[in-house]
């Protein structure tokens, strides 16, 4: 392939470079060749006559006007082979685990989306053992769903739990802006669970360039998609997509794009969507499920906001608990009608009562809670939190459903909960006989 080298660099920015060149393709891969012979990758992102703008994989720092640019005549690709299982790669697709570079097939990244008619309607529940997920916001194969949490919450632990406790054929971890200890943690958990041989990691840490961080989801998803096309059930974990969006913002700003909200580019939604939409249950092949992390302080911030509009719900983690309000699985209704007959009803009733209880919490601030029913609601809320909202308490779905009945029976009369007489007859615990709930010390 014809490779052209140019040296007329016009300008160098934080992660952007422009140069005069001819016959260059949009999105073509290029090499920056430093005077000392070192090389780094870059990609064409805009062309205006002979002015070509490139995104620099290793940032603009250290790039000088006497660097040369060589256009490689190919788009960005990523290796794909079964031998990649168990290995760790960086955001430019190079192994970073000390192992040998593999000779693999190369596959395109950020390819077009699958024809919707090739998608199946998701219909298979993924059991996680987390009551707030299994009972209230059931996870479904091929779902795309992030954890919304403040930085510092144990979201990576939950991510690792779900990935290792479930039945994925292939796990692909895409780490964007990972701290070293987070990277180490994932690695350790995967090894402990004996899942190493079915896991591939693409890792970008804070010391790598942001453009490499931007690449990570595309690499992880391209490889994941290939496995899915081979019939595998693939889990892709992406942590942290807020970092990713911030990198996107930095690059957009470097290109002088007009920002839409809080400096983020107007295409943030489309950019996130083209990644998350890779999740699919494919007719005649396997599936790709995406679990992400979106760190946030405020749900109306552009990153969680745009994410929520794209993903099929979110798990909202706060103070170490999985919250009911703020969490949502949009696919739950595809599966929770075939688990156990009481599942849907108990789910709604528990939620309704909890929302009533939240009203009482507000009322407490005015000192206006004085009646017995309100007090019972408040106690119910406490027990709900303690018994159900801990994401690290493992309970089978059926046990968790029984626990819900126990909690209802402890605080309410049958006619107060608004469940059908039929269900009450089958499931309401006998006086004081709880299946799961431990009796109060004072009971």
């Amino acid at each position: 392939m014809l490779q052209k080298t140019y040296d007329k660099i016009d300008s160098i920015g934080r992660s952007i470079l422009s140069i005069k060149a001819k016959g260059v393709h949009n999105k073509e891969l290029a090499e920056v060749i430093y005077p000392n012979g070192d090389k780094a990758f870059a990609q064409v992102i805009a062309i205006n006559n002979e002015d070509v703008t490139l995104q620099l994989f290793s940032g603009g720092f250290g790039v000088s006007t006497n660097c040369k640019i060589r256009f490689l005549g190919k788009p960005i690709q990523v290796g794909f082979s079964d031998d990649m299982l168990g290995r760790v790669y960086s955001g430019n697709g190079k192994p970073i685990d000390g192992g040998p570079e593999l000779l693999t097939d190369m596959v395109r990244i950020a390819g077009p989306s699958i024809n919707p008619v090739k998608r199946l309607i998701p219909k298979e529940m993924i059991r996680t053992g987390v009551p707030m997920i299994d009972v209230f916001n059931t996870l479904v194969r091929s779902q795309k769903i992030p954890i919304f949490a403040k930085a510092g919450e144990p979201y990576n632990r939950l991510l690792a739990n779900i990935a290792t406790q479930t039945d994925a054929d292939v796990i692909i971890i895409g780490g964007v802006g990972l701290k070293y200890d987070e990277f180490h943690y994932f690695r350790q958990r995967i090894e402990e669970a004996g899942s190493k041989s079915k896991t591939i990691m693409f890792v970008h840490t804070h010391r790598d360039s942001i453009v490499e961080g931007l690449m990570v989801p595309d690499l992880a998803l391209a490889v994941g998609e290939k496995f899915a096309l081979q019939g595998k059930n693939v889990f892709v974990l992406l942590s942290d997509m807020t970092q990713w969006s911030d990198y996107l913002r930095q690059v957009a700003n470097a290109q002088d794009q007009i920002p839409a909200n809080q400096g983020y580019p107007g295409d943030l939604y489309s950019q996130l969507a083209s990644r998350y939409e890779k999740a699919a249950d494919i007719d005649g092949a396997g599936s790709l499920t995406i679990l992400g992390v979106t760190t946030m302080d405020d749900i109306t911030h552009p990153v969680p906001d745009n994410t929520g509009y794209i993903t099929e719900g979110q798990f909202y983690m706060k103070d170490g608990y999985l919250e009911l309000f703020g969490s949502l699985s949009r696919l739950k209704q595809q599966v929770n009608d075939t688990t156990r007959e009481d599942h849907r009803s108990i789910m709604s009733v528990m939620a309704r009562l909890l929302s009533e209880a939240e009203e009482r919490v507000k009322a407490q601030k005015f000192g206006s809670v004085k009646d017995d029913y309100s007090f019972r609601l408040l106690d119910y809320r406490k027990t709900f939190q303690k018994e159900l909202m801990d994401p690290f308490r493992y309970l089978e779905l059926e046990d968790a459903l029984d626990l819900c009945w126990d909690i209802l029976a402890r605080y309410f009369k049958k006619e107060e909960v608004g469940l059908s007489s039929k269900l009450i007859e089958s499931f309401w615990p006998k006086e004081g006989q709880y299946k799961i709930l431990k009796p109060h010390n004072n009971e």
């Binding site: 001819k22 260059v24 393709h25 949009n26 999105k27 062309i47 205006n48 006559n49 077009p112 989306s113 699958i114 024809n115 919707p116 008619v117 090739k118 998608r119 199946l120 309607i121 096309l229 794009q257 007009i258 920002p259 909200n261 107007g266 295409d267 489309s270 969507a273 083209s274 939409e277 890779k278 699919a280 494919i282 109306t300 552009p302 906001d305 745009n306 929520g308 509009y309 794209i310 099929e312 949009r330 209704q333 709604s348 939620a351 309704r352 507000k362 009322a363 005015f366 000192g367 206006s368 809670v369 004085k370 009646d371 017995d372 029913y373 309100s374 006619e415 107060e416 608004g418 059908s420």
Partner: protein, 583 residues
């Protein structure tokens, strides 16, 4: 149209915006152009700006990777059009009318440069002529009809033909494909044109109304809170803005299933592919109670979902609208559901930003409100030439950033639509679906209920809300029993009438008849005197009523228990009306 087609070459590429210098021929704003890239693939695009010095901006409907300066551009001389004729119903296309099932026969992925025939040109349709040879006809006149799924599809003289033509030949009754000539017409100069059963219409051009009328007849949607309190009329417009997860899409899907429209067109614009899949894989299995046929038979889906090329979002919305106008001309009641119009607006924002236009609020282009109002203006009631009428209603979702309605797209939409269904996070968190704000929503269309009834119910809801805030401040003990009863009534109205479980076959839809029965019961409960003392007893009474009412909601109207439950409810109300002592 016989001008020499223009040719040009690419000079700049910035995502979907491509700058071109024309080297030959004249260029029309809005015309379709193809960019021929290195591997010979032809990428469809549209002229969106013609500038000085032969410079033209194209927005490309495909991924622009591997394009380079100097690539050949071939202009078509034709505006972006939709092909109209029998065969649209039941199909699923992308935003440029490529049928997705046909594309899937070629590739699993939506590879670029693929185009397939928009309408099936193999199927033979049974044509019965109604016009006669020798008659004089003009654009929009009916030549005959073919049966299509659930109705008789009129075959028109193409709407774009103006002036008078002599019908010099018309095909006899028989089976024809949409490409076969079924008529020949001659204009004044003697020039002859052959007509088929299909023709094209530019998507961005609103079809002129033959005669426009006012939307004043409520369209039953099966959704109680809408039909009762915030109705939409045939030919009307409505919007349902709301934060993510509040229930916009579920609401739209319910509307698609249960609305009493003849034709439903779903524009899945820039949202999840999976949601469109649910519709086109489930609808064929569902029966439309009005026709007894598959629900898909009255449905057409345009899917340009969030990961498909952004520039085609706009086309997808207009495509849906044009098809809607066409079926309105057939004398049918058409409903367009667009989810979400914000994604279309965002696509415009992306392009506008790349063109470095002066941005308005939140970087949306200044002209966004003009485009939005022009879009909703394509809805309406039309009186047709033969005196019959058709209608096109448009219901668009809006996805405001941060769920804040104070943003340009929501605001422009509010000004352009006749009904506003604001979805609220507070209600969806409390699982009070549909989470349509009971106080802030509104509609200018007539309800299925009486005007006084609507006012009466709305007043109760407002009272309920203000009592709720008093309870919050002062506790239940701070208000009188009487006030507490009023509060419980408002809560009950909400719980058993306004709330509706979309995922339940029975509760998910209430036809006008059932709505009436339920409303009568609600009014009885509200009006019944209640002789109870003490908050606990009052609450407990309403718990029983709520339970009985909900059980009733889940019964089919022809269910043996339906009437029994009705009496049970009445008894519950009567029991408490006069007894002072607790039972």
């Amino acid at each position: 149209m016989d001008k020499q087609q223009a040719i040009g070459k690419v000079v700049s590429v910035n995502e979907s915006l491509v700058g071109v210098i024309t080297t030959q021929g004249a260029v029309m704003n809005g015309e379709v152009a193809y960019i021929v890239i290195e591997d010979g693939k032809r990428l469809k695009s549209e002229v969106i700006d013609v500038k000085a010095g032969q410079f033209v901006y194209l927005q490309v409907f495909e991924d622009t990777s591997w394009m380079k300066a100097g690539d050949l551009v071939e202009f078509s001389g034709l505006l972006l059009t939709v092909k109209l004729g029998p065969g649209i119903l039941g199909s699923v296309t992308d935003g440029l009318q490529n049928p997705l099932y046909e594309l899937a026969k070629k590739e699993w992925f939506l590879e670029r440069g693929l185009e397939v025939e928009p309408l099936d040109n193999k199927t033979k349709w049974h044509f019965t002529p109604t016009a006669n040879k020798g008659e004089f006809v003009t654009g929009g006149d009916v030549l005959g009809a073919v049966p299509e799924k659930i109705f008789k599809h009129k075959i028109f003289v193409p709407f774009s033909l103006q002036g008078v033509f002599e019908l010099i030949e018309i095909a006899p009754e028989g089976d024809y494909t949409i490409d076969e000539t079924i008529a020949k017409i001659k204009d004044k100069t003697g020039a002859v044109q052959e007509l088929t059963m299909a023709f094209e219409w530019p998507v961005k051009m609103a079809m002129p109304f033959y005669q426009r009328s006012v939307p004043d007849k409520p369209m039953p949607t099966g959704i109680r809170i809408l039909d009762a309190l915030f109705p939409i009329a045939y030919g009307g417009t409505a919007c349902n803005p709301g934060p993510f997860g509040a229930g916009k899409t579920v609401l739209q899907h319910s509307l698609a299933k249960y609305s009493q429209a003849d034709i439903v067109i779903i524009a899945a614009c820039g949202e999840r592919a999976g949601e469109a899949v649910e519709v086109f894989k489930d609808f064929p299995k569902l029966l439309d109670p009005r026709t007894g046929k598959s629900l898909m038979d009255r449905t057409y889906i345009v899917g340009n979902t969030s990961s498909m090329p952004v520039a085609a979002r706009e086309a997808s919305v207009y495509l849906a609208t044009t098809v809607g106008e066409y079926y309105r001309k057939q004398g049918l009641n058409v409903l367009i559901l667009a989810d979400s119009t914000s994604r279309w607006a965002q696509a415009l924002r992306e392009t506008s930003g790349r063109k470095e236009e002066i941005p308005g609020p939140e970087a949306f282009p200044m002209y966004i409100s003009t485009l939005i109002s022009a879009f909703y203006d394509r809805a309406g009631v039309e009186i047709l030439k033969d005196g019959s009428s058709g209608s096109l209603s448009i219901i668009g979702t809006v996805s405001p950033a941060g769920g804040n309605f104070d943003e340009p797209v929501t605001q422009a939409t509010l000004l352009s639509t006749g009904a506003f269904w604001g979805l609220s996070r507070a209600l969806s968190d409390a699982r009070k679906y549909p989470a349509i704000d009971r106080i802030d929503s509104n509609s200018k269309y007539p309800s299925l209920l009486k005007k006084e009834e609507v006012a009466y119910l709305l007043e109760l809801l407002r009272d309920g809300k203000s009592i709720a805030s008093n309870i919050l401040l002062m506790g239940e003990k701070g208000i009188t029993d009487e006030t507490y009863i009023r509060y419980q009534k408002a809560e009950l109205l909400d719980a058993v009438f306004l709330q509706q479980n979309s995922f339940d076959e029975v509760d998910g839809v209430s036809n006008p008849n059932r709505l009436r029965i339920m409303c009568d019961m609600i009014l009885k409960i509200i009006d019944a005197p209640l002789n109870l003392k003490g908050k606990d007893k009052i609450r407990s009474h309403f718990n029983f009523v709520r339970q009985a009412f909900l059980d009733w909601n889940y019964m089919k109207i022809d269910d043996a228990n339906f009437d029994e439950q009705h009496s049970k409810l009445l008894n519950l109300i009567k029991q408490r009306a006069h007894v002072t002592e607790d039972l």
